[in-house]
């Protein structure tokens, strides 16, 4: 009986514990039109014309913690005007105005401003682009893929202490997110780590030499990833440095999206702007300093003199190392034959008999 008592009390405890752990935290995403009525079901989806399985499930929990949690669905999915809606054929336009008003402003929020900057940059779609180039150019979601819509973790520098001052007046929920939103942009040029930036630029795109060749990019662009990875910036980033330069450190201003070809006057890597660009990290930058090659490739065509120096040094290096090792081996062979042992034992290492032909 005693045993059953304990068992029941334990079971009760476990049941209460499980009940609490399954209770979802308060979800208050901006779903005024109740889209989640259907989209909350895990199984919602279909097999499309191409035979691919499409899931239309929206996780309430993830959505409630995502960056777009306060944006009503139809602010982005504007083409939906009836219920049940037609199959979606249009992509979301990130330049839409949404019904969110940022603090201290009466205008509706929109990504339009940065999209304009982006469209002017080398990655923006241009009218005279070839079809291949148009297809290859990245769009917002290519970089802002945000796989599960997680926010950047910003708990590094005196987070709680600083935040506690905000909480004197503001409510925790909103201000925590606003604080994180601002501070992670204050820490460094990008909220992503330099490693992620390099990955984003290189993987599937700038490191894809077949694609790059198809797009007829310049020789420098073809080798850009390789030469970056061989440079001191690239090696340090590859090993986990957080301070060395990544791609956008040099190729964009603080608006990140304004990447231009180097012969355009706006480009940060244009000769006229190089001093300013290098100055972000290096002190006392001069015109002469800006001449230093960042994506340096020492090949037979680019830098024949340095390339030949490198080859000659290689020969000298292998030649001397192997001849020195050869000398040491010959020396040991000769001395062993003359009767030396490996170790000094009882005061001498010359314990053996000389096996040389002529001996005194």
């Amino acid at each position: 009986m005693e045993f059953i008592k304990i068992l029941t009390s334990k079971t009760l405890f476990l049941a209460i514990f499980l009940l609490f752990s399954f209770m979802a935290p308060g979800v208050d995403a901006a779903d005024k039109e109740n889209c989640l009525m259907c989209h909350k079901y895990r199984q919602i989806g279909r097999i499309d014309e191409k035979g691919r399985k499409r899931s239309y499930f929206v996780s309430e929990n993830i959505y409630a913690n995502a960056v777009h949690r306060n944006v009503p669905c139809r602010d982005c999915h504007t083409y939906i005007d009836k219920l049940p809606h037609d199959p979606v054929t249009q992509e979301v336009n990130c330049a839409n105005e949404c019904h969110i008003k940022p603090p201290f402003s009466n205008e509706n929020f929109s990504h339009k401003k940065i999209i304009d900057v982006y469209n002017r940059s080398v990655h923006g779609s241009k009218d005279d682009d070839s079809a291949e180039l148009k297809a290859a150019k990245p769009y917002c979601k290519y970089c802002h893929l945000n796989p599960i819509y997680t926010r950047v973790d910003e708990q590094r520098i005196a987070f709680e202490e600083t935040l506690s001052r905000c909480l004197n007046c503001h409510e925790r929920k909103g201000v925590t997110q606003a604080y994180k939103h601002i501070t992670h942009r204050l820490r460094s040029k990008t909220s992503r780590s330099p490693q992620e930036i390099v990955q984003l630029c290189a993987k599937n795109c700038h490191a894809d030499l077949v694609l790059m060749k198809k797009l007829k990019v310049s020789r420098e662009s073809m080798e850009a990833v390789k030469t970056y990875n061989e440079s001191i910036h690239g090696k340090a980033i590859g090993l986990g440095s957080q301070t060395a330069a990544d791609c956008v450190s040099c190729h964009a201003t603080s608006s990140i999206h304004d990447i231009y070809k180097k012969d355009e006057p706006h480009a940060t890597v244009n000769k006229a702007n190089l001093v300013k660009t290098c100055k972000q990290c290096h002190e006392n930058v001069t015109e002469r300093f800006a001449q230093i090659d960042v994506h340096s490739e020492i090949g037979p065509h680019e830098k024949p003199f340095l390339y030949s120096v490198n080859v000659i040094l290689g020969f000298v290096f292998y030649g001397s190392v192997f001849s020195l090792i050869g000398l040491a081996m010959l020396e040991s062979y000769g001395r062993r034959k003359d009767g030396i042992s490996m170790q000094i034992v009882r005061g001498t290492s010359w314990r053996g008999e000389s096996k040389r032909k002529k001996s005194k």
Partner: protein, 291 residues
């Protein structure tokens, strides 16, 4: 005393390096292969390096290992072991600092060495003890010694050449270290202070590329030579295995001194009466004449 030892050195050279017996006043005729019969203390019997040199070697050797470990990891950043070693040093940003501190220490050790060498040489010149044969300066004799020695290793000569305090191998290595340190320090300075060096280099683009190239190539060469040649030469070859204590004690074993630095041993005989007595005893035991 020093002048007389010079005379002996000179006379033995004139008498021919191939002579089996070398006459030393107060001892007698010393056969070239007497090193096979002497007793040695593994920690060293005869002085070779001053404590300055021992400290300098120790500083250089510790900083060299640190520089090699951090530098190679950065150079071979794409290899699988690089991130693991980098973690040991606390990430590339810390490793960079460690590399620079070690480099500064190595430069200090090099300057210390130059001061002791130049100062010591000046002192010797002033007290008329200077003997070019006992220095690291490469001479034509070293080329002859090398040919002679290789012939001995191949069994075509009866005995090893009679060499001074520094033999051809050591002089080669010393010149290589001078050159290597110069290249590594100057190229490293260029990499550390690119802003300043850009104002000095006639063509900064070329200069910086050259510095990057030379720093890496020279460092890898230095590391390879140290690991595969220097360490085997001083610690692994027969007679030196498992450890030659000279780099800590500053002293050399008697058999090593006679075998590879015979003329320096003659100098030692002139300097130390007890060494003369010991040599006489050994000669008598092995049936040679003494005086």
């Amino acid at each position: 005393m020093s002048t007389s030892s010079e005379n002996i050195a000179a006379s033995s050279k004139e008498a021919g390096a191939d002579e089996y017996y070398t006459y030393v006043e107060g001892v007698g005729n010393i056969p070239r292969d007497i090193y096979k019969y002497v007793k040695s203390d593994p920690l060293g019997d005869l002085p070779r390096y001053s404590y300055h040199i021992v400290i300098q070697h120790f500083l250089t050797f510790i900083t060299f290992l640190i520089l090699a470990a951090t530098g190679l990891t950065l150079h071979f950043a794409s290899l699988w072991w690089a991130p693991l070693v980098m973690k040991l040093f606390g990430g590339p940003d810390t490793a960079r600092l460690i590399h620079r501190i070690a480099a500064a220490l190595m430069v200090i050790a090099s300057v210390y060495h130059l001061i002791t060498i130049i100062g010591g040489t000046l002192h010797k010149i002033m007290t008329k003890k200077f003997n070019i044969n006992r220095t690291q300066i490469p001479l034509i004799k070293d080329a002859h010694d090398m040919v002679h020695d290789i012939k001995y290793f191949l069994g075509k000569e009866e005995q090893r050449p009679k060499m001074y305090k520094f033999m051809y191998k050591q002089k080669l290595h010393y010149v290589a270290i001078l050159w290597g340190t110069f290249v590594l320090v100057s190229a490293g300075t260029s990499l550390l202070f690119p802003e300043t060096m850009a104002t000095i280099w006639p063509n900064p683009r070329f200069g910086q590329d050259l510095a990057r190239l030379m720093h890496a190539d020279e460092a890898i060469m230095a590391i390879t030579v140290i690991v595969f040649w220097h360490w085997s030469n001083v610690h692994l070859v027969p007679g030196r295995f498992p450890l030659q204590w000279s780099f800590l004690t500053g002293r050399i074993t008697r058999e090593h001194q006679i075998e590879e630095h015979f003329l320096e041993y003659v100098y030692n005989l002139k300097e130390f009466p007890e060494e003369r007595e010991y040599m006489k005893k050994i000669l008598r035991e092995n049936g040679y004449d003494t005086n």
